[in-house]
């Protein structure tokens, strides 16, 4: 699976001037030294302390009162409403991202206009901008003092808008390099045989883009499920209406109900893992086939 940072493909371009770069030999072919062991031990210890122990603590806490209490916590009506809304809004946002992401990537690759490189740079803005600023930004234009008369503050549409903002780059950045390297001969052949541009796109371009679209959608969905900063100001956190799962967990932590917070957190983690790792695995397999 590829991480969110933008344009990794550019970084992967050969930096060296010599053409003899080749993959590293397996360790077995080399003299065993203590260096890798020390570095490896240090890395694993650091990762365990910073990431693994804290996450294990969440899982352990969620089951502290037994399976029954875990089940009670995750079937609490307010928790269920928050998780259901999170799932639905994330699916809607991921679907819009898929369509708009392909469209924007297509315009950035196949179209030519003034300021295109500026627009290309702008795509990464949601990654660079702190999420709380993203929320404030959307409220400034689409909040209750909106100068354009659109008010989405404290609505489900507002939550979707905030998620569309923070997940914008994922599909664009996944699709763009694939579209760039796509051979245009097949499209030209289809056009010369009388296929319309929409037909050619659907039958030739879209199948080639599918793994990239899926990878981008998976990242966008995972991000949407866990997002907090961009939503917290715009949603108003109305239980049963605009409260998403991450905000629900936050409110449980604030009221010191950490076991219930941990239980919902475990469900959240499970959803993003299944999406992220499942879809990236599936996309990798589809790519090989």
């Amino acid at each position: 699976m590829s991480p969110p940072p933008s344009d990794v493909s550019v970084i992967e371009a050969p930096v060296s001037t010599d053409s003899s770069a080749r993959p590293a030999k397996p360790a077995g072919a080399r003299r065993i030294r203590s260096g890798p062991l020390i570095v490896g031990g240090f890395s694993v210890a650091w990762l365990t302390l910073i990431v693994l122990i804290p996450l294990a603590a969440v899982v352990v806490r969620s089951f502290e009162g037994g399976v029954d209490e875990f089940w009670n916590a995750v079937t609490n009506p307010q928790a269920v409403a928050a998780m259901r809304f999170t799932l639905i809004v994330s699916i809607v946002v991921a679907a819009i991202d898929a369509v708009m992401g392909v469209l924007i990537a297509w315009v950035l690759v196949r179209d030519e206009f003034h300021g295109k490189s500026l627009v290309n740079g702008l795509i990464d803005l949601p990654f660079a901008l702190p999420t709380i600023v993203a929320g404030l930004t959307l409220l400034a234009l689409y909040g209750n003092k909106s100068p354009v008369g659109i008010n989405v503050a404290y609505t489900q549409a507002g939550v979707a808008l905030a998620l569309l903002f923070v997940t914008l780059p994922f599909v664009v950045r996944a699709v763009q390099p694939v579209l760039m390297s796509l051979d245009r001969e097949a499209e030209q052949a289809a056009a010369s045989l009388g296929a319309g541009p929409i037909y050619a796109f659907r039958r030739i371009v879209l199948p080639a883009l599918r793994p990239a679209i899926l990878a981008g959608v998976a990242l966008a969905f995972g991000r949407a499920v866990g997002e907090f900063g961009a939503i917290v100001l715009i949603s108003g956190n109305l239980p049963f209406k605009t409260e998403v799962a991450s905000v629900f967990v936050f409110s449980r932590i604030e009221s010191d109900a950490t076991t219930s917070a941990a239980a919902v957190s475990v469900v959240l983690m499970a959803i993003s893992f299944v999406m992220l790792f499942g879809i990236s695995y599936w996309a990798r397999r589809a790519e090989k086939a």
Binding site: A21, A24, P36, A57, A128
Partner: protein
């Protein structure tokens, strides 16, 4: 055909404009509508100054630690085959898949007063905020450095070793110069994330104004206390940092292409 192309362009640019550009422009406008003076006053109050100082301090501790860990991990993943390598690879990406709120909760459960390593000086104070920041920005350096190391191969390092260079010399003279742009890129992404983190830091900090408040927490605090001018002014500072980060990223990418 031209009409179709034009309408696609209009839809794409219109979407980007309405979602990104106009809202950002609105924050700039709101922050500066009464002139630079009030905005400057709002971001130079003692709590604002402290928030700025604390944000920078946390980033200055978290980012170098991430860089060291990132180089070490990237080196292992690119140069060696070992059991559990795929597992390590997957675990490194975990912070990208976990909600910041869950990160905050996890740290409270480990370091809080009833936690596994119960401590009174981590949660609701700066060390906890540093731990949260390290967690959320952990994968960036690894993910940028590893492909560069893999691409470069081991020829130069082996040549240096044959000529009698020790590990430290190889690292300083060969490996670090090779990965410098990937490393820089990873550090920029890591720094941007560290400066902008909100959820995880909000939970472990206790949001004590003037003590454990970073710039992002300060923005929320001002907004909730209905001091919109202060919120917009602080948001403007963060947005300017984000734009600077974007510009740096673009320049670095150009550098890669030129090579």
């Amino acid at each position: 055909m031209t009409a179709g192309r034009l309408s696609l362009r209009v839809v794409a640019l219109g979407y980007l404009g309405l979602l990104l550009l106009v809202p950002i422009g609105m924050v700039f406008y709101r922050a500066l509508e009464n002139g630079i003076g009030p905005a400057w006053d709002a971001v130079t109050t003692p709590p604002a100054q402290h928030a700025f100082y604390l944000t920078c301090m946390i980033a200055l501790i978290a980012v170098p630690l991430n860089a060291i860990f990132g180089i070490a991990c990237a080196w292992l993943l690119a140069r060696y085959e070992f059991r559990g390598k795929r597992l390590l690879d997957t675990i490194i990406d975990l912070p990208f898949a976990i909600s910041p709120v869950v990160v905050g909760l996890a740290l409270i459960l480990v370091w809080g007063r009833e936690g596994w390593f119960a401590s009174t000086s981590v949660i609701f104070s700066v060390p906890g905020m540093i731990l949260a920041t390290i967690f959320v920005s952990l994968p960036f350096v690894v993910r940028e450095v590893e492909p560069v190391l893999r691409e470069e191969g081991i020829d130069q390092e082996q040549a240096a070793a044959t000529l009698g260079a020790n590990t430290f010399q190889i690292l300083r003279r060969i490996t670090l110069p090779t990965i410098r742009w990937g490393l820089t890129y990873g550090i920029i992404l890591s720094t941007a994330r560290a400066l902008g983190e909100f959820g995880a830091v909000a939970i472990v900090s206790g949001k004590i104004s003037g003590r454990t408040e970073t710039l992002t927490l300060f923005v929320e605090d001002r907004f909730q206390s209905l001091d919109l001018a202060g919120a917009y002014a602080a948001a403007l500072v963060l947005a300017l940092i984000a734009v600077a980060v974007l510009a740096l990223m673009t320049i670095l990418q150009r550098k890669y292409k030129d090579h």
